[in-house]
Amino acid sequence: MTADRRSGGRAVGTVLLAVAALSASRPDRLTAQDSQFGIRSLGTPGRWESVRSRSTGGAFAPFDPLSPLAEAALADVPQLVATAMQAASYREAEVAGTTSALRETRYPLLNVTGRVHPRLAISAGYTTYLDRSWDVTLRDSVPLRGGLERYTDEVTSDGSIADLRVAAASRLTRRIAIGAGLHLLAGSTRETAERRFDDTTFHTVQQLAEVRYSGVGVSGSVLLGIAPGLTVIGWARADNRLRATVADTTSAETDLPRMAGGGILLAPSPSVRLGGSVAWRGWARAGGGAFDTWSWSAGGEIGSGHTPLRFGVRGGQLPFGPGPTAPTEFAAAAGTGRAFAQGRALLDVGVERLERRGGGLTERVWTALVGLTVRP
């Protein structure tokens, strides 16, 4: 009893520490890793994966109740669980022989999941739907008043669109579980446009706006236990339109994609789990320069003790790019986790190496991932 109280106190302390650490940032930092491919488009789609899933290349995401991808996996959550993650990216963007070193820290996931009935589990939280944080500088000139006036432009966007999800799941039979979710898309970006002329006779242009975004979506999924140690899942999601408003005036409305995917999870032994997943997203609805995408992932987790080893790879296409075909990406990831406080707190860490190519641009990204899960 005393030991339980002590460990419970540690868990509560860990939760408080986690909440303090992961919420001590501006709201616009609650975004995912960005990309130069997202500048001339709606943004960079987020990854709806916890650190554990992302360390397996995303292969476990459909089966992970803490990853807001497929709701059916929530059905097997035994108790209240809260998770959050942080991702620090170091990115090199190389285009036309010029390399830019970029870095950012994001808090792309917060999720609370619990069981409210023996046959019903619910979840609420947010993840990044689209990241719209970038800063572009440009040197150019324009003919003005009989001369060529040189200037420097800086256009920035800081913020993101979050996917606020409320989901529920139920295990119908020993082999079948289903889930559904309602998604509220909300967010804002602070955008600025500045032009400084070399000739100061021309005054500096400075414009800024707060752009607000809104939209809704629904999702559903089915989890099937094919055989002991073999599970498959299928999921689908439909979002309607993303409305952008500036000063209460709608500036743009963009169709959002339908998407679907599936996965397979194989557990030949209690200490070995292997998974794979595939997803299709119909981003071409979003307009010119957008593409429907396929993505895949495969990964595994070895070890059932306190420090499992995770690894995985993934690949596929990016929805936005300048050329006639969608840019591609490939990533390899690895990670591990550590349980504390008699398993009530889990610290997951991971690292991911990602490469994106398309339209003459190559991005190489190292991302350090830290996730904290609490089971009070």
């Binding site: 500048i39 010029t98 830019s100 820290t105 440009l138 006779t201 005054h203 307009g287």
Partner: protein, 415 residues
């Protein structure tokens, strides 16, 4: 064990420490935002109307300088100044209240500052004439034709004086100091007994006129505020004349007269001259620029109807102001350095004048309740005979215009 955990956790937190650097060079159009900053450059030829000119804001007696000029075909200007005296008697000492009659003046010394002259003028000569002490603001050039003909009391050649060792003429007692900081000449001129007569019946009041001549380009400005007159008098002290040097006197009246008088106003837009003229222009500021654009440069274009007359040193600065409210000639001008734009008007030049009015236009755009009225006036009014005349809006081919460079509203929120 604890140390190892602490190391692991510390390493993880260090790797995930908050960092931010998202600025990158743009490679357009592929990797730039779809929206661009659009610059528009246009000349608005029909937005200025209801323009008019008014005169009389600053007259010769109220000008900060005395103008003297001899510019054949343009103007001849003469300075006039009066110094009031001490009366018929004065105290013999600072502690002695006893007074004595002022018998005569040994001499006097005039200090004057030449604030503006043309360095290209050779043999620049100042001629001083004794004038009636009744001169005032109503005195005209014609009224003083006689004294300026037959009452010469002193003549000083500035070039000769400047060329002397130490810039002093030991014979006449005149000297000059060149103030290179303020770019002025400070003259100390001695008036002998004949030139400076202390008349007790006039209370010691004297008046002089200043004429100027040169081989060419004879035009100067004398600062009124620094004029000083120093008497050296003899006072009767119990039957014995004693020398006394009372305190110096400032000018009781200082002005100038000129011929011909300022030409009457016509349909052109005049700025400058004496009495000073201002022009008022009403601008129909386009709503689409004011409401949804950002002005980055605005230039007022004015076409002179004739070259500006005068010596090169008569060049002056024209300021463009806006007003608190437009009530015509007496519209109160907003005098604010951040909302004042200027242009230098060079004498003898008839090129198109361009005045940058960016600050004013941005001011109008930021406060749409303001009257979009421009007032053109000289920076220092009535300090030059030169006057510029611009074509008015009624002259279709040469009417005032606004050259505006602006940026449209950036398409924020567009994918």
């Amino acid at each position: 064990m604890i140390a190892r955990r602490a190391t692991v956790i510390g390493g993880v937190l260090l790797a995930a420490a908050c960092v931010e650097r998202v600025s990158a060079p743009g490679h357009c159009p592929s990797f730039c935002p779809s929206g661009q900053i659009q610059t528009v450059d246009t000349v608005l030829t029909d937005v200025i109307s209801r323009d008019s000119t008014y005169r009389g804001y600053v007259t010769a007696p109220h000008a900060p300088v005395i103008l003297a000029a001899d510019l054949p075909g343009f103007v001849e200007g003469r300075g006039i100044v009066r110094f009031n005296g001490y009366g018929a008697r004065m105290r013999l000492g600072t502690t002695d209240t006893t007074t004595g009659a002022i018998l005569s003046a040994d001499s006097a010394r005039l200090q004057l500052t030449v604030a503006r002259r043309d360095t290209g003028a050779h043999n620049l000569t100042l001629a001083f004439y004794r004038l009636p002490i009744t001169i005032d603001s109503t005195t005209t050039f014609a009224d003083l034709a006689g004294p300026f003909t037959d009452s010469l009391v002193k003549r000083v050649n500035l070039d000769t004086l400047l060329a002397r060792p130490g810039r002093k003429d030991t014979l006449t007692g005149d000297s000059v100091v060149v103030d290179t900081t303020n770019h002025v000449l400070v003259l100390h001129l001695k008036f002998d007994t004949a030139a400076a007569r202390y008349m007790g019946t006039d209370s010691g009041t004297v008046a002089y006129g200043v004429g100027v001549s040169a081989d060419s380009l004879a035009s100067i400005g004398i600062t009124k505020a620094t004029l000083a007159w120093q008497w050296y008098v003899r006072v009767d002290s119990a039957g014995t004349p004693v020398a006394r040097t009372p305190g110096s006197l400032g000018a009781a009246f200082a002005s100038f007269v000129f011929n011909p008088p300022a030409p009457p106003l016509d349909s052109t837009l005049a700025v400058g001259g004496v009495p000073s003229a201002r022009s008022i222009l009403r601008v129909a500021f386009p709503r689409f620029i004011r409401d949804s654009s950002q002005i980055i440069r605005g230039t007022l274009i004015l076409v002179p109807a004739a070259p500006v007359q005068g010596a090169p040193s008569d060049s002056f600065v024209v300021e463009a102001h806006t007003v608190f409210t437009d009530v015509g000639a007496k519209s109160p001008v907003i005098v604010d350095a951040t909302r004042t734009d200027t242009a230098v008007i060079h004498a003898g030049v008839s090129d198109t004048v361009q005045i940058e009015v960016t600050n004013l236009m941005q001011f109008w755009a930021s406060d749409t309740t303001r009257a979009t009225t421009l007032v053109l006036r000289p920076k220092a009014e009535a300090t030059s005979f030169s006057l510029i005349r611009f074509y008015p809006s009624a002259a279709q081919a040469f009417r005032p215009a606004l050259h505006i460079t602006f940026v449209r509203r950036f398409p924020f929120g567009a994918p």
